[in-house]
């Protein structure tokens, strides 16, 4: 871990934050599918950060997003949860070669299929939690399920695209 890496991640995070609050906050696809692109930033954070560090970063970062969404605690609760179980998912999905020579989890280091499953599990858990908490107060079960499925797929698509666009150069070194 060196200073350029930290700077890169910081700028990366800021750009995603801008995308999330300027572009995706106000727009939904067909009125049901939102896009939580910031989850894509969180799940690609490098391996060498300890879990406690990850939880703190997630808490601060998602709280910023929550403030713009005007729902303090909603996205944070879900994001902290998925970052907490990320380590278990790594263990469960260990590829044949292990994680020895890898730094972060992009499609270029881990392979397209592995990353698709990994991102799907985390994004699905995250959106399920967000809409389940929302469902407690407003809305019906069916509209919540529809939102969970459509948002998961839309977010997954955007996250995979953004992996192609943003992380290509860094991993191609």
């Amino acid at each position: 871990m060196n200073i350029t890496d930290v700077l890169k991640q910081l700028i990366h995070g800021l750009i995603i934050l801008l995308f999330q609050i300027v572009l995706f906050r106000t727009s939904t696809l067909f009125g049901v599918a939102s896009c939580f692109i910031y989850v894509g930033f969180l799940i690609q954070l490098p391996f060498y950060i300890s879990t406690i560090g990850l939880l703190c970063i997630t808490f601060g970062y998602t709280l910023l997003i929550d403030i713009f969404y005007d729902s303090p605690g909603l996205h944070t609760a879900a994001a902290v949860f998925i970052m907490y179980i990320r380590a278990s998912i790594f263990k469960w999905m260990t590829p044949s070669g292990g994680y020895d020579n890898k730094e972060n989890t992009s499609i270029f280091t881990m392979g397209f299929q592995w990353h698709l499953i990994y991102a799907f599990i985390l994004i699905f858990l995250h959106t399920s939690l967000v809409f389940a908490i929302e469902w407690l107060s407003i809305g019906t079960l069916w509209s919540s399920l529809l939102k969970i499925i459509s948002t998961t797929l839309f977010t997954l698509l955007v996250v995979m695209l953004y992996q192609f666009l943003f992380l290509y150069k860094r991993s191609g070194r």
């Binding site: 879990t51 406690i52 939880l55 703190c56 808490f59 303090p72 909603l74 949860f81 107060s137």
Partner: protein, 281 residues
């Protein structure tokens, strides 16, 4: 001690996780009005539905008694109807009769939770704001006065029972119009209440009926029975010390009636001027 610290250190990640989640949930409840409302209304509606289910199971054991009470009540209502029909043919020319008849609206509700063992007792009804119940309405049982609505959710309402040391109602002895205040003072006895502030010159006897006076508070129609005088004691001072046996059995309440005074707002507004004048120096 060292082992404990070691253990805490071993699960430190989990502890940090739980702490952050607690902060999140606290923020959710504290800052998001609709989540906070959801949290509280969910908890109260869950409590309400559990009570409903419990009531649904236990009601079968009391069906016989309920039936008897309903039949009795039917008979009373029929009698009252005949009396009213006769009266309205007699007094057709006085407009006051019509006002009196339209003054109170009555709704039927069921008691789904009831308590008589505390010092301040409440009971829960299965009708709420959706059915038009409002805070402040009176509650009658089939045999007499029961209490007053204190809070209302969408489908349930909570009422203060007479068996509540913080509530009182103005009443009078039917035979001679001697008025006073009904209070619950002995919180070990759910069958009797005290009838205070009755002046000594009224000759109150054991066996007299105590009814609502209809003034001072406008919750109930005039003349609804509250209880029967069971004990009259002279303990000095200018007031009697009277005990009244309640006609409503609070330990076995089932169907109740919620009364709404349609003219309460009007009565309050016409009285407001005088109460204000009184307050002014």
């Amino acid at each position: 001690m060292f082992r404990l610290l070691e253990f805490i250190y071993a699960i430190r990640v989990f502890l940090v996780f739980v702490a952050i989640e607690i902060v999140c949930i606290w923020m959710l409840v504290r800052f998001n009005p609709y989540h906070g409302a959801a949290y509280f209304s969910t908890s109260s509606s869950i409590a309400g539905s559990v009570l409903s289910i419990q009531r649904g199971i236990t009601e079968y054991f009391g069906l016989r008694k309920t039936n008897l009470e309903l039949a009795e009540e039917n008979a009373q209502l029929k009698a009252a109807l005949y009396r009213a029909q006769q009266r309205s043919t007699k007094e057709i020319d006085t407009s006051i009769v019509f006002i009196q008849e339209n003054k109170f609206d009555v709704k039927v509700a069921r008691v789904i939770n009831n308590n008589t063992s505390l010092a301040n007792n409440f009971f829960t009804l299965n009708k709420g704001a959706r059915q038009g119940v409002e805070v402040g309405m009176g509650v009658l049982s089939s045999k007499g006065v029961a209490g007053q609505i204190k809070s209302v959710t969408d489908h349930y309402a909570t009422a203060i029972s007479i068996l509540n040391a913080k509530w009182s109602i103005s009443a009078k002895v039917l035979r001679m119009d001697a008025d006073g205040i009904i209070k619950w003072e002995d919180d070990t006895d759910p069958l009797h209440v005290s009838f205070t502030d009755v002046a000594k010159h009224h000759k109150v006897k054991v066996g007299d009926t105590v009814v609502t006076s209809g003034y001072k508070q406008v919750l109930f129609p005039k003349g609804i029975p509250i209880g029967i005088v069971s004990e009259v004691k002279d303990e000095g001072g200018s007031f009697w010390n009277i005990k009244v046996r309640l006609t409503t059995d609070f330990t076995a309440m089932d169907y109740v009636f919620i009364t709404k005074n349609n003219l309460k707002v009007e009565q309050d507004s016409v009285e407001a001027e005088f109460t204000k004048e009184k307050v002014k120096p």
